[in-house]
Symmetry: C2
Subunit: 391 residues, 2 copies
């Protein structure tokens, strides 16, 4: 009545999911274990220990939330914000907007600060808003998946802390592809996902709270509106000596995450960050050679996600359709104000490699030529190859 | 630094997860697809169509929420309840308590009605509370995982509808193991999980809303406090013609659910319900033969979860530890007021078979004898075998 599940082969170069590591997929065939089985508890403990290393933190309250990155965002905000709390949110893309939206649904009094899409948030503007509103929480996105901006954090963190505010960074796109270094930087709350630079399937959101953030949760006067995402209850299950039942976590996704984190640490985080940077550099050189200009400001580009402006006279949807149909390549459409105006090319986790860079450049070049753009055949790959040669 | 993932062999006879079907585990090795890939959208549509059949509904707003059963519970309540709304919750176990707790966190004015653990909720008592408070929502648990009670629904649904209330049934433990029949019964809101009678790994919560329930969502005056679980936004992604992005769903878990539902329908829902009933009958006959008495009232026992009173002089934890260590068998500890007083033996999905019935009876009998109980060797299996012979 419904046929066997068959997925077409795809080269995943969008904003995520990226290609899942083969070892990770294999780990998911491991049979179920009870959620309180001693052996499963060891696997949970391993996963947390590995997560702390990739997050760069000693935070006790570190665990994967049973939901996707947006669940992590909601967990972070709902546990910290009480009705009426002042919150400052920096917005320079789609996911900054989302933080503000969720903070409002948590009852926060939200001050938003905007920078143009494709530019970073200036620390001075953030400082003004922080000084004026004395917020409990300052929040922004580390790597904006909608624009490809990698936001400098240090100055804003310092300002937030000087004003006694907690600092939250959305690390959904950065974790595993660029350093997040929670403890060294003083990030109080961070969350991520599994399907981008960690190269696992989606479904979990690694999250971490500093001791200061935990104290804010402990001193709440009102209950957290979400029971499912209540970090105190989750902490009792993940870290309490009694391992108090809260909900049945997804063994398969935890097996996957544990294996994905092992792969990350076997490669080495530094080598992995470098790999993301090198491939992004080659991609961008090739793209520029065929007239595709970056939409993110120079010096602030996230290597795992490159946004490219769609040239005049080229139809967004047509090109993306041809990429899928002729090459099996998925790239991302523009989101928000970038819809129809920019492409998002993800080189994340396993998907970040020279083969994919050369493939997507070849395909884009051919299609631009097919649609009448004056491009020298081979120029994209030529420019990219030079970057790899110089490395 | 961390060894390869290895899970010990287990026979999963607790409250869930049950054994995942091998075809389901295999389906999870399928590579990722983009969340808007046409081919993935087909897989989503298949999954919804299959889910509707197992739920017994034509409800358009049917989909798997990206979280476990408790996320489904929260989605159901948070979308329907606005601050100040009257809610009647029937409680005869742990998960009824949880419904009331979440309903309160959603701002509901909650009236709770209690029946003893191990007994069903009487319709008359529910009727009184419904008449008195004129609630927007009446909620209870179909199969209480903490007590093994299968709650009769028809009378209470009729009363709720006569008073213009929506009716919610928690089908976490029943779906796939007993008929839920949403449309035939008039259940307005139902949610479930994947790791019990559907025999998939945990991580998703199938949910369904009737047209009346959808109208209640449409007519809300306040925003839903959860963005992650906002059904209107989820509907736009799952069912809207524009497939508007909300969050990146877990391809792997959706592959798993689709395959699990195929397996359910290949067996046939009626045959599957019968299988659950037959194995539960054999288990109970065997248990009684060695002095293990059911904790749930006769005539109201959920076949997928049998609660057995722990005999005087037998230590709960010792027996469960020996079952795991000597036989690899997991059974469930008592929850809430049944902690230390009852065991919960799940025969769910793949785990519901004659082999497991005979194995757990053999093991329990041996352990009871080892701890000094006067039991005739072989009596448990003998009694169970008679049930299978009579079938």
């Amino acid at each position: 009545m419904y046929d066997e599940l068959i997925a077409p082969p795809r080269v995943l170069l969008g904003p995520g999911p990226s290609e899942a590591n083969a070892r990770v997929l294999k780990a998911m065939t491991t049979p179920m274990l009870g959620y309180l089985d001693t052996e499963f508890v060891h696997i949970m403990d391993d996963t947390v220990a590995l997560l702390r290393r990739v997050f760069g933190t000693q935070n006790r309250l570190t665990l994967p939330v049973s939901g996707t990155g947006t669940a992590g965002m909601e967990a972070a905000l709902a546990n910290i914000i009480e009705p009426g709390d002042a919150v400052v949110v920096g917005i320079n893309g789609y996911f900054g907007e989302r933080i503000a939206e969720i903070a409002r649904r948590c009852g926060g009094t939200v001050t938003t600060l905007h920078a143009d899409w494709g530019t970073p948030l200036p620390a001075e503007k953030m400082a003004e808003a922080i000084a004026k509103t004395a917020p409990k929480l300052v929040a922004l996105v580390h790597a904006e998946t909608s624009t490809g901006i990698l936001q400098p954090l240090e100055d804003i963190i310092q300002i937030a802390h000087e004003h006694d505010a907690l600092f939250l960074a959305d690390c959904v796109t950065s974790l595993g592809g660029q350093p997040v270094d929670l403890d060294a930087r003083g990030i109080d709350i961070a969350y991520s996902c599994t399907q981008k630079c960690l190269a696992a399937p989606p479904g979990l959101s690694p999250i971490s709270f500093s001791e200061r953030a935990v104290a804010a949760i402990r001193h709440r006067k009102t209950p957290i509106q979400s029971f499912y995402l209540d970090m105190t209850l989750l902490e009792n299950y993940w870290h309490g000596s009694a391992r108090r039942y809260h909900h049945t976590v997804s063994m398969s996704l935890i097996y996957a995450l544990r294996e994905a984190l092992r792969v990350v640490l076997e490669e080495g985080t530094y080598a992995r960050y470098k790999r993301h940077e090198n491939n992004a550099r080659a991609l961008l050189a090739g793209a520029k050679a065929i007239g595709l200009e970056p939409a993110a400001a120079e010096g602030y580009r996230a290597p795992m996600l490159t946004t490219l402006r769609i040239p005049e006279g080229i139809d967004d949807a047509t090109i993306r359709k041809r990429l899928i149909e002729d090459y099996g390549i998925e790239i991302g459409a523009g989101l928000g104000i970038f819809a129809g105006k920019a492409w998002r090319i993800g080189l994340m986790g396993e998907s970040s490699n020279e083969r994919n860079v050369m493939l997507v450049l070849t395909a884009l070049e051919k299609l631009l030529i097919a649609f009448g753009h004056a491009v020298e055949p081979g120029s994209a790959v030529h420019a990219a190859a030079q970057v790899y040669a110089d490395r």
